[in-house]
Amino acid sequence: MKHVLAVLVEDKPGVLARVSGLFSRRGFNIDNIAVGETVTPGISRMTIAVEGSEKLVEQVIKQLHKLVNVIKVSNLSKESSVMRELMLVKVDVAVGYRSDIQQIVETFRGKVVDVSPESMVVEVTGDEEKMEAIKLLLQHYGIKEIVRTGKIALLRGALVTREG
């Protein structure tokens, strides 16, 4: 099962190495990780997607809590939450089909953010399913390059994930 963890950390040197090092040495796999600031100065938020059994994720969370720079860990997969990631795709348009691609992008509410004689760069945001769906369609035309941010997530409603 896939789990998405929201990890609030002190914004100190080496904290990313502490977290990623913990995953590798305990044999946990990170699917993806996204890091950014929060509304509280000095506190960053890591969104970590990890695949594994309930027992494994429980152990991951406990081990994360042991890191002194980690302030809070929440498993957002357990709650109702909004999850998004952003993907940029460079599509080969050397053989034409520019308008076909445009149509697909519009259907997925994406944007064309760069155009050149041989390629287009498409921006899409959404959940994992949507990313996979558009990727499948664009593959048909030839994908030259893909970059993804990794998931970010917030609880739905007024609830917040906050330190303390």
């Binding site: 950390v9 002190e10 040197p13 080496g14 190495a17 502490r18 090092g21 913990l22 040495r25 027992k55 429980e58 152990q59 406990k62 081990q63 809590h65 042991k66 890191l67 002194v68 720079n69 980690v70 302030i71 809070k72 330190e163 303390g164």
Partner: protein
Amino acid sequence: MKKKTASGSTMIVKALQEENVELIFGYPGGAVLPLYNRLYDSTLRHILVRHEQAAVHAADGYARVTGKPGVVFATSGPGATNLVTGIANAYMDSVPLVLITGQVPSSFIGTDAFQEADITGITLPITKHNYLVQDVSELPEILSEAFYLASTGRRGPVLIDVPKDIFDREAEFTYNKNRKIPGYNPTYEGHAGQVSRAVKAIRDANRPVIFGGGGLIRSEAAPVLREFAQKTRIPVILSLMGLGAFPGDDELYLGMPGMHGNITANYAMTEADLIIAAGVRFDDRVTGKLDAFANNAKIVHIDIDPAEIGKNVMIDVPIVGDVKSVLEALLKKIQPGDTGEWLAQIKNWQNDYPMPCALKSTGNAVKPQYVIRELSRLSPVDTIVATDVGQHQMWTAQHFIIRDPCKFLTSGGLGTMGYGFPAAVGAKLAAPDQPVICVTGDGSFQMNIQELATAVNNRLDIVIAVINNGYLGMVRQWQDIFYNKRYSQTALEGSPDFVRVAEAYGAIGLRATNEEETTQAVERAMAEKGPVVIDFRVEAEENVYPMVAPNCPINDIIIGGEQV
């Protein structure tokens, strides 16, 4: 008002004084020169070791005896990397240490400068926390955090890496102990609901055992455990790390479980319907094959580290908290069940399966078990025993009667050869009035034999009992049992004459090759001043029994050796 400022070096010295540090174990070098220069003017006592690894082990021994954090100084690069084994050892056994390393000057960091090593990166997985000081103004807070982290919650080593220029820089200095750390808040009191569930489980149990470990010693829970066991009449099993948390000669004590554990302890653990696990972490050397471990038992697990609960075995009643306060809480509500029948069953096992142990030598050598029993018999009750790692360690765990906590120092988790002798040095400095014995092997002793200089220089009365079988005995034993007696690289040919090595360092060297000489040597060594090395020539191919092969159920025991 003018604010008080201090240099980085002065901050460190003052912080150590604030924390009531009496002793520093260390070794100077280029990057840490400014700190040693400041130390020259202070009243702090520094023990100069002969290898940085020994500094950590000595600080570790000191910490295990006193319960206070051991403090280590070392220089950058090789000085720091030489600490690594000692740090990993302390981390695995949850020993509080504060280590301060010099680093190349800030402006040189990342340039592969002379004697530069990324010691915070290297020790990331083996410290409770570590710091690379970026600005001298952070240092007071880092120092107080380091002592607080090392000595609270689940204890552990904390390293502070200080670039050389930071030692000389000045900043405002005030020292506040026990600062609030946002991401660090250990739980000490057990959850009342879980405590009630444990009370009920104990009341309903017919065949309960207490399985205690090193956590009992760190939390000073031994007196509570004794009261608990006596009131409930529940027998006690102790892990290697827990030895001393319950009197080794008490009628309710069953011994150590696991690979070289007491047969009764293994049978009791397997047959128990309730295990009250207190400050233990179910190491593979204890559980053997996990699927077959204690299948008949409900398990109550008390530990200060929530991550240990449910890590290896499934737990029925998890109690996160300080093991002493949880045992006290249990004691208040406990309704003892009737364990009479169970204790009778245990008595039968004890009669049927005594510790297999040959004491009579057959050739021109003494039996190692005999040596350990003589050491145990002839040493006063307050004796501290430090061991190295291997056969002699297991024989000591089996045959040396440990009655009190903080009297048995051993490398449990990491299994570090070379730990014992420097740990004994730290122990003697921590408790000058208590006799200290280091039981070591001819392999282990040679891993830190240079510390004879430290022991002689500080006139430390330590008896170093070398169980000399001419082999890396435990590895040879595995080659004997699992590799068809193919003794690949385990014969220690070319070892020195330990008596003359001792004498060359200015210590006393004795040798014993039979039972009579053993008794005489131990008696004399206990009476002598300064370090005494006794070279016990023991039977070369004696094996440690009982033995459970790795990943086998712990009641599937190889009972070798002769019965007493």
